[in-house]
């Protein structure tokens, strides 16, 4: 008996390279932005350590400051800053894609919605800096 079948239904499984994000520039940008989440976890833990050190005492806070000054941590911080800033910029540019932007029947241009975010970013940063640096 022949073992053939009239047709062989199979699930369609597109083959994807494990390094698919290197194929195209937008894919690479996508994965770079997604990995910013790992640095969010990293710096959330750092901020918890800082809060814990401040609550514990003078010695603990001095230890925390020494830890932050060690070169490996500083390099990680530079990468985290670059990564999360990239997240911030792309996030602000995306805002017109998800916000209602019809005003009296007209569609507002994208920049009118994304540009104010950058202004708010500056103001927020200035306020946080004033507190962290002890100016207020």
């Amino acid at each position: 008996m022949p073992s053939y079948k009239p047709f062989q239904p199979e699930a369609y499984r597109p083959r994807m390279s494990p390094f698919w994000y290197l194929d195209r520039w937008p894919y690479f940008q996508f994965i770079v932005r997604e990995t910013s989440a790992f640095f969010v976890v990293y710096f959330t833990v750092i901020m918890l350590m800082q809060i814990c050190a401040i609550e514990t005492g003078v010695g603990a806070y001095a230890k925390f400051q020494a830890f932050m000054a060690c070169p490996v941590v500083m390099v990680l911080n530079v990468i985290a800053l670059a990564s999360i800033s990239f997240h911030a910029v792309t996030w602000f540019i995306l805002v017109p894609r998800v916000f209602v932007r019809h005003v009296m029947g007209n569609v507002l241009p994208d920049f009118l919605i994304s540009v104010p975010n950058f202004g708010a970013w500056l103001v927020a940063s200035a306020v946080v800096a004033a507190f962290v640096l002890g100016i207020f």
């Binding site: 994807m16 494990p18 698919w20 994000y21 994965i31 997604e34 990995t35 910013s36 989440a37 790992f38 969010v40 976890v41 710096f43 959330t44 833990v45 750092i46 901020m47 918890l48 800082q50 809060i51 814990c52 401040i54 609550e55 005492g57 003078v58 806070y61 001095a62 400051q65 932050m68 000054a69 941590v73 500083m74 911080n77 530079v78 985290a80 800053l81 999360i84 800033s85 997240h87 911030a88 996030w91 602000f92 708010a120 970013w121 927020a124 940063s125 946080v128 800096a129 507190f131 962290v132 640096l133 002890g134």
Partner: protein, 119 residues
Amino acid sequence: MAHTQRSHRPVFWVLFGTGGFLVAFFFPIHILLSGLLQPLHLVPSPDRSQMLTLLENPLTRIYLAALLIFAIWHAAYRIRDTICDLFGIRPLDEVIMWLCYAGASAVTIAVGWLLIFVP
């Protein structure tokens, strides 16, 4: 008609979206100051007693709690999908989701402990 389960993604997407805004607005300045400029002594570093006064203010605690809790849920939502896409292991999504959300829950409890219960 068969029972269809509704996705719980919208709930976590709200946390992701809010966290995305808070992270974008506030994380870069915290990393720049505490992570780079203060360790390099390029800007003043207030001593522990000044920082404690700042931390004892209820408004500071509300700000930090909101920032850190939304940030960790933002990261958990994104890391879940990033791990699936980066390594091509979408079939394990359920397991990865539970791991990410368990981690975020643990950090949420830690934030609560540090900012609410410790005087």
